[in-house]
């Protein structure tokens, strides 16, 4: 978390400095400072309501934080024009509400928006780029199909292709695995990490499964849900130092950020989700294994494997 302070604003990547945001009087994001390194696959992880989606929107300037600043490649994000921002950052939203049965290619073509000058329309070059983007995600065969008549997994691919058609340096993906079956979750995540490597795109995604985070990301940002009211934080009674430090912690969204393996410790996961887990090593890979509280059988079994 100190990386942000160390890093100069000229450094490439996205830097968030002391971001706080309240929604309807509830603190959603508390003093977030972090650096998203260029070229990495970064996962934002945390329980429901911890503000992962909100943080993505703040990074993409879709939401303005109450406090703090976001720097994209050293530039103050709030000063970047919407159009320039769309060339830097592609965003794959969580839910899509299909309206008209546009063809898949037409949907991807809308990603060319930041490259199309005022009053003009997409030309043959743009169509070619849109087709390339579809090919990159392995969905070119869907080009002529109606977006409303393809499966949820295919739709996810199409939305990634739309973001790629923007030719961005950063790709923000909000729960790219939601609504997908077991196999499609893996193929989408594989595709994201492949594209991040091939296209030199920095991928920042939110996920729900800690194991996916371990498998597919270089870095993890683990977040907690802020509890409003608990511990005060507004100096209501007394000045007990322990309470003050507790409240400061509760006002802080990020539990840990850094290399996936360093962040995903049983202690941090307990802190985030409130459940006990053990980190197992199986066939050279680490797996996060949830333990049922108070169930001795599970714990005895898992202790066969050394945890780190």
């Amino acid at each position: 978390m100190n990386q942000a302070q160390k890093a100069g604003s000229s450094e490439a990547g996205i830097i968030a400095r002391d971001i706080s945001l309240s929604y309807n009087g509830r603190l959603v994001l508390g003093s977030i400072s972090l650096q998203l390194k260029k070229g990495a696959v970064i996962t934002l992880l945390g329980p429901n309501g911890c503000g992962k989606t909100t943080l993505l929107k703040v990074i993409n300037c879709l939401l303005q934080p109450d406090r703090g600043k976001v720097y994209v490649e050293g530039r103050d994000a709030s000063a970047i024009k919407q159009n320039d921002m769309a060339r830097l950052i592609g965003h794959v939203p969580q839910t899509q509400r299909p309206s008209f049965p546009f063809t898949t290619l037409d949907i991807v073509l809308t990603g060319r928006m930041p490259h199309i000058s005022a009053l003009s329309q997409p030309g043959p070059d743009d169509v070619e780029k849109a087709r390339q983007a579809l090919e990159n995600v392995g969905a070119l065969h869907l080009a002529g199909r109606a977006y409303t008549q393809i499966s949820g997994g295919e739709r996810q691919l199409v939305m990634v292709a739309r973001a790629l058609a923007q030719e961005p340096s950063y790709l923000l993906l909000d729960e790219p695995t939601s609504y997908l079956d077991f196999k499609n979750q893996f193929s989408v995540l594989n595709m994201i990490s492949r594209i991040a490597g091939e296209q030199k795109v920095t991928a920042v995604m939110t996920l729900h499964d800690p194991n996916h985070a371990l498998m597919f990301s270089d870095e993890v940002v683990l977040m907690r849900k802020l509890r409003f009211g608990e511990g005060g934080g507004f100096g209501d009674d007394g000045n007990c130092s322990k309470k003050a430090s507790l409240s400061r912690q509760i006002q802080q969204s990020i539990i840990a950020a850094g290399g996936a393996h360093e962040v995903m410790t049983p202690e941090n996961i307990r802190e985030a989700y409130g459940i006990e887990v053990e980190v197992l090593s199986i066939r050279g890979r680490r797996m996060i294994f949830p333990l049922q509280k108070g169930n001795g059988k599970d714990q005895a079994e898992s202790s066969l494997y050394p945890s780190s």
Binding site: L62, D84, A86, R87, P101, D106, Q121
Partner: protein, 346 residues
Amino acid sequence: MWIEELIGIVRERLGKSLLYIAFLTLPIFAFFISMFIGSFPVRPEELLDLIASNMLGYESGYPEVYSTVIFQVRLPRILLGMMVGASLSISGAAFQGIFRNPLVSPYILGLSSGAAFGAALCLAYLPEVSVQFAAFFFSLTAVGLTYFMASSKGSTPVVSLVLAGVIVSAVFDSLLAIIQIAVSERALQSIVFWIMGSLGTASWIKIYSAFPLFALGCSVILLLRWRLNVLALGDEEARSVGLNPELYKAIFIVAASLAASSAVAVAGIIGLVGLIVPHMLRMIFGPDHRALIPLSLTFGASFLVLVDDFARAGMGFEVPVGVITTLVGAPFFAYLLRSVRSGGWE
């Protein structure tokens, strides 16, 4: 179903692009067909001779009544019908795109209620003010009120727009009702007739006065039409690719309202055209606004003119065209809705 099959066959034989060209050139055929239709029969060679003599300035030798019927009655009516049909359809298509809903018409923001109130106000109490101007002014006032009511903190959600439109329409409908109760029988009759929508009062003055704003509104929509595809995916999706949804919503609402208001001001409230035409085209050509918008312009123009041909010559007496668009449109619409899967929209 035979219409679907027919469309399928035509599409297969000619390809979509030829069908597209056919629809784009439809107004030319609609224009010439309409020139011959009417209670005063004119043969093709007579028409050509008349047009030639009028343009080249020589004496045609036909009685004066020929030239009056063709150039002062029929021609302005056809041109006005084309303009009104085109503007209602293009603005309907734009509104459906902005609202991401194919069941929206240009009247969704209170435009028609405002226009009806304005026209009634003039017909009842202000004979010195032009009905066209009052209808135009109040239709835009209604849209402006709706927009103002729906926007808060710099954003104008689509749902708020729809609800505000309902409220503003209701207010103007109530005001209209007060006028209708208070006025004389004769004034009431002309108000009712105006509201029904008709091209019977077409004149060159109406065409000249409505054309500039019609052209302005349509050109803006035509120029920016691809951005309706971007908008139709949702505000946040639009913003993430660098399109300011609030700005473009406002631009499209202004342009579509200008086009529709200028049409309503000269022809009254012609129903269902702005809803049906874009919807039918979407079923045939798909939802891409790059094709849908120009097609709405040409097919809308042809559609209304042909329906008006029927209105003025199909029966023994003249029926307001607005009544016929509704009567012709509704069953056809119902048929398409039932036969094409989900009305081409899911």
